[in-house]
């Protein structure tokens, strides 16, 4: 696919992820919309350009794996999985309803295509290291992708895991930090700043780059660069806007877990369709 066509295709997929996410959360009336919308472009690139996966064989031994450590963004991941064919998108409307297979936070025991249970922040960093380590032990050529939140990086466990990943030369681990600058109680810089995140990651022995997390072409190029990287884990800081695509939620800390009424849904869908 020509690069401009590919970018157009991936942007379309990102829009579809946002649409399904907004609809799913609107169907239950409230949910983690802000941090779901901020990673839609990343998920579009991973699921429609990068990952070696087979929805007809979700347990395929040499598949690439993904750990959404910021597990509250489950609705965005479920939307990507539905679009990729793991289940019908109508399932998304059961989000958080009694007996659902689609809970707020990712659950590998419930949902087809989910590689790891997450929800207690920081833990996905370690479990992703375990998955990547097993791929190395089993001499598989596959990769493990890890998505962290920026606020999540306040957890000490993230740094234990990165120290471990560098020590074990887990170059098949490609992590992303969704750097939208906001956490529940306000700007990350006001609450407990991550400081010079690139310097920290570099000093921990990671290959690192900071990119625009809403530019599918830049994400794709950078991930492909990380995939050829040898001897160290990669951590790509994706600068994003919390709530990206829905004006009411953009750059709004309270969009972490927000009410989505039918009126907000209507306006939000309009906003998303109008995205460039």
């Amino acid at each position: 696919m020509k690069s401009e066509n590919k970018a157009r295709f991936l942007r379309r997929k990102a829009k579809e992820i946002r649409i399904l996410t907004l609809r799913a959360i609107a169907s239950v009336g409230i949910g983690h919309i802000g941090g779901s919308l901020s990673i839609a472009d990343l998920l579009a690139v991973l699921y429609f350009d990068i990952m070696n996966i087979d929805p007809s064989d979700p347990e395929k031994i040499n598949r690439d794996k993904i750990v959404l450590s910021k597990g509250h963004a489950g609705p965005a991941l479920y939307s990507a999985l539905a679009l990729r064919g793991y289940f019908d998108s109508s399932c998304l409307e059961t989000l958080n309803k009694p007996g659902t297979k689609f809970p707020s936070h990712c659950d590998m025991r419930l949902t087809n295509g989910i590689d790891m249970t997450t929800g207690s922040l920081g833990q996905g960093a370690s479990t992703a290291c375990g998955l990547a380590l097993a791929q190395k032990i089993d001499k598989l050529q596959s990769h493990t992708f890890l998505i962290l939140g920026d606020g999540e990086c306040q957890e000490g466990q993230v740094w234990e895991a990165l120290m471990f990943a560098a020590h074990h030369k887990l170059d098949n681990l490609i992590a992303f930090i969704d750097y939208n600058g906001l956490q529940i109680d306000g700007p990350t810089d006001d609450i407990c700043s991550l400081g010079d995140i690139n310097a920290k990651l570099t000093s921990f022995g990671c290959f690192t780059k900071t990119i625009n997390g809403h530019d599918v072409s830049e994400i794709s190029v950078t991930v492909n660069e990380a995939l050829t990287n040898r001897g160290k884990p990669s951590v790509i800081v994706i600068k994003t806007t919390k709530g990206k695509g829905v004006s009411l939620f953009e750059n709004n800390a309270s969009s972490h877990n927000a009410v989505v009424t039918s009126e907000i849904l209507r306006q939000g869908l309009h906003d998303i369709e109008a995205m460039s």
Binding site: G119, Q123, G130
Partner: protein, 322 residues
């Protein structure tokens, strides 16, 4: 059920940690999925021989317990069978959320080995004295909780633990402990072993207190009291049937454990009996106290966990039940 025990309870030279390492090597030689994880306590746990035999199957994570249990969960999700060791205090307290969430809630197959239970931490003192680990682990859904009583039982149970899919918390003395069982004894997860029959008082014990209970039974016999001694080495799932049988047979129950009296063996037995067969009880264990430094025998006396304490508890219960 076949139970065969020594007449005299005494400490043998073989240490739990060496039996653990040898049986893990044996398992690993037959199953390539077996792995060993530790947090800078391999030397302390005597597992260096495993590393020498299977260097590619050992991950010494360094001093990061939270990370280790996450790594173990990731390895398990990839089909490995990780045995992850640290001291019981760190497994149960420092890494509780990781064990709960990444291991148990996620439906993984991680074998958690928490060493130096209670007074066995001895000279490491109160900071390292797990008097609460069993109670903490017991409250995690689907978690199997066991404390092998001696090296023979440990060797017999290791293949069972490895084969059973799911999370297991194994509380393990690290160094020497009493030898209770002779070869030929059958050990079944979830089934208690009756070590001595008796009709006046039932003593249900775990771990260190099993040997002490047998000594206590001898002392009680000298006073004309016949004690039935039960080794409840699987705390969860506990053996309800044997608990009820012992209560019905004796009418008075003593529990004895190297742990707080709350939330572990004493509580489990009390809950079973309250629901099924209310029976007068006295719990031997630590009474809402922190641990402290000292040799094991001193601590057993200090925290009233030894045979004398069990005898006193039995006499008190019998007196109360007159």
């Amino acid at each position: 059920m076949s139970v065969n025990i020594y007449d005299k309870i005494k400490i043998k030279d073989n240490e739990m940690r060496f039996a653990f390492c040898e049986s893990l090597i044996d398992l690993a030689s037959r199953d390539e999925r077996i792995m060993l994880l530790d947090c800078d306590l391999m030397s302390a746990m005597g597992t260096i021989p495993f590393k020498e035999r299977f260097p590619e199957r050992v991950i010494d994570c360094g001093i990061q317990e939270a990370n280790m249990f996450g790594i173990a969960a990731g390895l398990s999700a990839s089909g490995k069978i990780p045995f992850a060791h640290t001291f019981g205090v760190f497994a149960s307290r420092r890494a509780l959320d990781q064990i709960f969430m990444s291991c148990a809630y996620a439906g993984q197959n991680v074998k958690i080995v928490g060493s130096d239970p209670g007074i066995c931490a001895a000279l490491n003192g109160g900071t390292h004295m797990a008097f609460d680990d069993l109670g903490i682990m017991r409250n995690i859904p689907e978690m199997t909780v066991i404390e092998p009583t001696d090296t023979l039982m440990l060797r017999e149970l290791m293949p069972v633990i490895a084969k059973k899919h799911g999370c297991v918390y194994m509380r393990l003395v690290r160094r020497k402990c009493e030898s209770i069982y002779r070869k030929g004894t059958v050990f079944t997860l979830g089934k208690a072993n009756v070590l001595r029959d008796g009709i006046d008082v039932g003593i249900i014990a775990m771990g260190y207190c099993v040997g002490q209970s047998l000594i206590a039974a001898d002392l009680l016999k000298g006073k004309g009291i016949s004690a039935r001694v039960v080794d409840m080495f699987t705390l969860k799932p506990a053996d309800r049937e044997e608990t009820i049988r012992t209560a019905k047979k004796t009418g008075v129950i003593i529990t004895a454990e190297n742990h707080q009296i709350n939330n572990a063996l004493g509580s489990t037995v009390a809950e079973i009996l309250a629901e099924e067969c209310p029976t007068p009880m006295v719990r031997v264990g630590v009474h809402d106290m922190f641990g402290e430094v000292g040799e094991r025998d001193y601590l057993a006396e200090r925290f009233e966990l030894n045979a004398d304490a069990i005898v006193k508890a039995a006499l008190r219960a019998l007196e109360r039940n007159k």
